[in-house]
Amino acid sequence: MADNLQTLREQVLQARNAGHKLNIVGGGTKTFMGRTADPDATTLNVGEHTGIVDYHPVELVLTVRAGTPLSEIETTLAEEGQVLHFEPPHFGEHTTIGGTLACNLSGPGRPWAGSVRDQVLGVRLINGKGEHLRFGGQVMKNVAGYDVSRLQAGAMGTLGVMTEISMKVMPKPAATLTLVQDMAMDDVIHYMNSRAAEPKPITAACWIDGKVYLRLSGARSAVEATAQKWTGEVMENGEAFWRQIQDLQHDFFTGDDPLWRFSVGSTAANPTLDGPWLIDWAGSQRWYRGEADQKQLEALAKEAGGQVSLFRGGDREGEVMHHQPDALKGIQRRVKNSFDPDGIFNPGRLYSWL
């Protein structure tokens, strides 16, 4: 636990005065994401700005410094029977909460429990002028001012250095079990969405290697009664399976082939592209492995109502995020400029033009 705020602010001000760029790093476990960091940028280490600032289990609210490792947070919450509902992926023991929010990463329960962005209540951040600002708060509802806190989700540090994050936490479900059964890829989209449309305690739905996995969590009686009604075998080590999906540790994710992430309409037909697929989030998130033409994938993603990004591997000098239309490019450039007028933070990490 260390408060490194003053050092961080000084480094931002120094960079601004000297005309240097900064590469913001938390635990350093997500360097594979985004575009290649600017080699001339100086590293700004948020990973030493750690610790739980405030935690009231009864309020369901947690405030932590941005460099705090997820593991530390989850251990503290577990003592009170609570969890980070969005099931953040751990890419190593040093994965931090700040990096998780900056990359907007959430686990298999995302369509039901919400994303990391959904749980955020407030942030403090240092903008490009070196000002330490507070947005949002520690309460569930707050509509005073623009939602700058949630804007940070997915911005990959291009708007500022997050120093503190307040978020909603939830009780750990009393019971959880997983149902597994064989199913062809052509049938699974309809199946998963039909199950999700039932008022039952479903909290994850994933398809891989000809099998569909549905997770049920909540009150024990509800979980057990639903498992009786629905088809599928109860899985022995369900939690281990979901952990592998959450942390991208499943066999599907191993190897050096480029990894593409499709964020699309949950009921969209699967893109016509041969190769290995993993379907998660009841169809809303689909992973594809292999060399592919980015333009072609973008066209397929658009057809499926969404976007595609090159999540890992492949060419990281080019664009890795879905192409943005000109009007949105203009807005994002100006938003960036409003936070970081000198373009200090993570230049080119999110888009070549930002």
């Binding site: 947005f135 509509v143 001012g145 940070q152 009780p171 969404g306």
Partner: protein, 491 residues
């Protein structure tokens, strides 16, 4: 801030009539009168003119003309807002989205709905009901308020703790920018690439763009919902029970609290069978599968009894559940019956401060000589104090505003905020200076400029001009010192 408009009312009207049905370009005072205010009728202003476009292309052209001529634009949905966010600008155009009232598509399998912004909130759930689905956020005004306005205000309701606010239930919006471009923010997928502009736009009170289409998520209607009503002989015990139920691991579908004044007013109005002697009443709705609800109801009853409830009653039928809610849902009009006027506040606080804040509010009530009744979304810590006053008594509204301002200051002091769901609008624009410092407010202005370089969208709302903030803070500081001195002297 927009510079002085470059076109006269007649010139503008002529330009608009070239592509909008002339009947829907309103310039006479009599027809414009209904647009002079929204649900916050204490704040009124007549606009320059009102337009009701019928297509997105028309909205684009209106925006381009206004942008070129530096004419302010105030977008308006159903006009039910409670912070004067849709109050017209006297030199500007009111852009009503009332003609955009169609449900474009409901996809039962994907559990989504595509809507024009003028669709009423409740109409979404009514239409989705045939598929066993509904739309989560349910603000009290849901019978009248529109989804476009819900996006602008990030509206909540009684089910937020479990089902989230508007921002949690959106997939995408189509928006016309100040410069007249059409952009789609978000997609059919859940988490797209890059910074979350959808969150930024949600709750931006019409300052960043004009929403012309909304895609929302729908939820499966729970198999069953039941309400546990618990009465307590003090607000402290009621407040503790709110924390107690959550600490127990139950996330209620709704968790509402009323104080003694509100209990009696609501019970007189709705004859809901509330415990009239109670000083605090909790309505705790548990929803889910049959099994889950049975399990949680038993636990909730036990928690409330343990924490000193003087009465506990659980709904056994849909009729009984509706009756118990009727009192809460009609609390505002019920309070309206016991006072000529009331002023509804919207601060939020950490739940643990409920008892403290209610006690302080009682003291203020005596100081200001005005009654206050409290109904609130206890699960979210979202207070709705209703200050009772008579607008016909000279000076009483000013006193009411001062009382309200003190309540909001208290909310911020205990770690909360000035508005949970009603928005800042005109009404709370001064109090923004209590919650934010000048650097933060400047950052908001800079964000606004990124979307609206000429500053034509809803100018003067949401974020205060910095020059007024210093003055307001010093006034507030003096008032605060004065209150403390008075209190120290037993005043």
């Amino acid at each position: 801030m927009a510079t002085r408009p470059k076109a006269s009312k007649a010139e503008l009207a002529e330009q608009f009539r070239a592509f909008i049905d002339p009947e829907y370009v309103i310039t006479d005072d009599e027809t414009m009168k209904p647009y002079e205010c929204d649900g916050m009728s204490m704040y009124c202003e007549m606009p320059l003119l009102v337009v009701l476009p019928e297509t997105v292309a028309q909205v684009q052209r209106v925006m381009r003309i206004c942008n070129e001529n530096a004419v302010p634009v105030v977008a308006r949905g159903a006009g039910t807002g409670l912070s004067a966010g849709a109050m017209p600008n006297k030199e500007g155009v009111v852009l009503s989205l009332a003609k955009f009232n169609r449900i474009l598509n409901i996809d039962p399998l994907a559990r989504t709905a595509r809507l024009q912004p003028g669709v009423r909130n409740l109409a979404i759930s009514e239409e989705a009901a045939q598929y066993g689905l509904y739309y989560g956020p349910d603000p009290s005004s849901q019978i009248a308020c529109s989804i476009g306005g819900n996006v602008a205000e990030n509206s909540g309701g009684v089910h937020c703790l479990k089902y989230g606010l508007t921002v949690h239930n959106l997939l995408s919006v189509e928006m016309v920018t100040a410069e007249g471009d059409v952009v789609t923010i978000g997609s059919d997928g859940l988490d797209g690439c890059g910074m979350d502009l959808l969150a930024l736009v949600t709750g931006s009170e019409g300052l960043l763009g004009v929403v012309t289409e909304v895609q929302v998520k729908l939820l499966p209607k729970p198999e069953v919902a039941r309400v546990v009503m618990a009465g307590f002989d003090s607000v402290q015990k009621g407040g503790d029970a709110v924390g107690g139920i959550i600490a127990h691991g139950i996330i209620p579908g709704g968790l509402e609290m009323m104080d003694g004044h509100a209990i009696i007013a609501a019970d007189d109005f709705a004859q809901a069978g509330y415990p009239r002697e109670a000083k605090a009443l909790l309505l705790c709705e548990v929803d889910g599968t049959e099994e889950e609800v049975l399990e949680h109801i038993a636990e909730a009853e036990e928690v409330f009894r343990k924490l000193g409830a003087t009465s506990v009653r659980t709904s056994c039928s849909e009729e009984e559940r509706a009756l118990l809610w009727k009192g809460r849902k009609s609390a505002f009009p019920a309070v309206g019956r016991i006072s000529p006027d009331y002023y509804c506040m919207d601060g939020t606080i950490p739940r643990r401060e409920i008892a403290h804040v209610l006690t302080e509010m009682e003291k203020m009530s005596e100081e200001f000589g005005l009654r206050v009744a409290n109904v609130f979304h206890a699960g979210d810590g979202n207070l709705h104090p209703l200050i009772l006053f008579d607008a016909n008594v000279p000076g009483e509204f000013e006193r009411t505003e001062a009382f309200g301002s003190s309540i909001l200051r208290l909310c911020v002091e205990v770690g909360g905020c000035i508005t949970g769901e009603h928005g800042v609008g005109v009404e709370k624009v001064r109090q923004m200076a209590v919650q934010f410092n000048d650097e933060e407010l400047q950052q908001f202005h800079d964000v606004k400029a990124a979307f609206d370089p000429a500053g034509i969208l809803n100018p003067g709302k949401g974020v205060p001009a910095l020059k007024f903030c210093q003055e307001y803070r010093s006034l507030e500081h003096k008032q605060h010192k004065h209150d403390q001195t008075e209190a120290a002297h037993g005043g």
